[in-house]
Point group: C2
Chain length 272, copies 2
């Protein structure tokens, strides 16, 4: 299995704090030694850093923990290989272009049966079930909507239903984004937290590091982080729950319940 | 205009020496301040580093000059913006997937009229004429060959003819690769050099740096570097010449003359 990390914010925000936490799980506090990758959107642009080396030992990962890339949408993945050998082409996140936008995908779980799903526009470069599932999913979206649908909800619902289809093939925790929305589908485990004013201090579970967000934010900032396991030990993270999805836009969550209802998620107390 | 740099080799080779030279042209010895990018293939995998910051001042560029990523196929681009604002999405090289392989493209020149060419499978994310030309070119390949053609020469010739079409729309110096072949099409200016045993020392034009390749290679290594302007001042580089193309595979060149004949390029003396 792997670790997922995503961010959605209403102002360009750096992810150095959370990256420092999750990279420890790449061979130090966690066993996820088989490569890592992170995609940062900057407007419509998107840059992905990939490294088949363990995150805890990666020179590029060290750079990203101290070199702040500010982004409103980030998707990160730390890999523990289950299917597909350890190689660059099997390193998440994966990216393809649809409607002139970069779509980025990362997966935690196993969906070996999904490899039988027929592909149309997109083909995998590597050998993982994850990339195959992504190519199928994006091809389905493209077949159904040759142009982006007018109503956002139409697309959101379609993606939710196809994610449920993939979930039926195994374990399918997913982060998917196009630079505006971040889709977080939960099969077994995925948690999130929204930080907004009044900001406080957060302490990492995986490293001796604390940040007082009040010192690095403005009162209007909304920053949501989603991860396989909570990254901090003094804040309340919300679990999405099996079969559910949360869609984040500019840091603001929109919940989709397992039976397909859209609603704002319930308020949760912020600090433990 | 911009600076192109490509590498094709028969063994994974790092490009630190040449990158050190060309990054100087990004704001130090050259005016190409508007971002840079480099794609490294590792097998079928491909990682791209992009930075809208000047190469000469970029933290990521500095990392790549000292952190050796070994690759058999590299495409690099240093940008001086002509069309399209300075932004991540307008930063070369561009990448799309075709036939389950990553295709990477970088362009030097201007082909504004190419923006009227109709697109099919691929759409640009940014606003440059270059990315539009790439989307058109790859779409043409895909329309003509839904599956890869059996004969390599068939594909090579098709790419050459489409590159000539694009050249008819302005100035079109191009590097295009799929991880196996590196296509170098010359509209106005593009030079290359193949280094093989017996190796000697090379001295950078843009920085006080000399490398004795004999110390870092084996007798079987073949390493070709292609660039807008020669990067060293004590070796003989071969100019491709307007309307011509050279295809490099595992470091070995195959020339296509402007009238479409395929031939091995003439031998040139190696050192000045």
């Amino acid at each position: 299995m792997c670790e997922l990390l995503g961010m959605s914010a209403n102002v360009p925000t750096d992810l150095c704090f959370s990256l420092t936490g999750i990279m420890q799980r790449g061979g130090s506090t966690g066993p996820h030694r088989d490569g890592w990758g992170v995609a940062f959107y900057e407007g419509k642009g998107c840059r992905i850093f990939h490294d088949p080396a363990p995150g805890a030992e990666s020179e590029i990962a060290r750079l990203l923990q101290r070199y702040p890339i500010r982004s409103c949408n980030v998707i990160c993945h730390i890999r523990l290989a289950t299917t597909g050998r350890v190689a660059l082409e099997n390193t998440h996140p994966f990216r393809r272009e649809l409607w002139g936008r970069h779509w980025v995908f990362a997966h935690n779980g196993r969906v070996p049966a999904a490899k039988k799903l027929p592909l149309s526009h997109y083909r995998p470069v590597g050998t993982t079930d994850s990339e195959h599932a992504f190519c199928w999913l994006l091809g389905e979206i493209r077949d159904r909507f040759p142009e982006p649908p007018q109503r956002r909800r139409t697309l959101d619902r379609f993606i939710f239903e196809r994610a449920q289809d993939l979930d039926g093939h195994g374990i399918f925790n997913m982060l998917l984004g196009d630079g505006r929305a971040l889709y977080a589908y939960c099969s077994t485990r995925l948690s999130w937290i929204t930080r907004r004013a009044p900001f406080g201090a957060a302490h990492l579970t995986d490293a001796e590091l604390e940040v007082n967000f009040a010192e690095v934010t403005t009162p209007n900032d909304i920053v949501t982080v989603v991860a396989t396991h909570p990254l901090t030990d003094n804040e309340t993270w919300t679990e999405i729950g099996p079969g559910g999805m949360v869609i984040f836009r500019a840091g603001t969550p929109q919940e989709v319940t397992p039976d397909g209802r859209f609603r704002p998620p319930p308020e949760t107390p912020k600090y433990l």
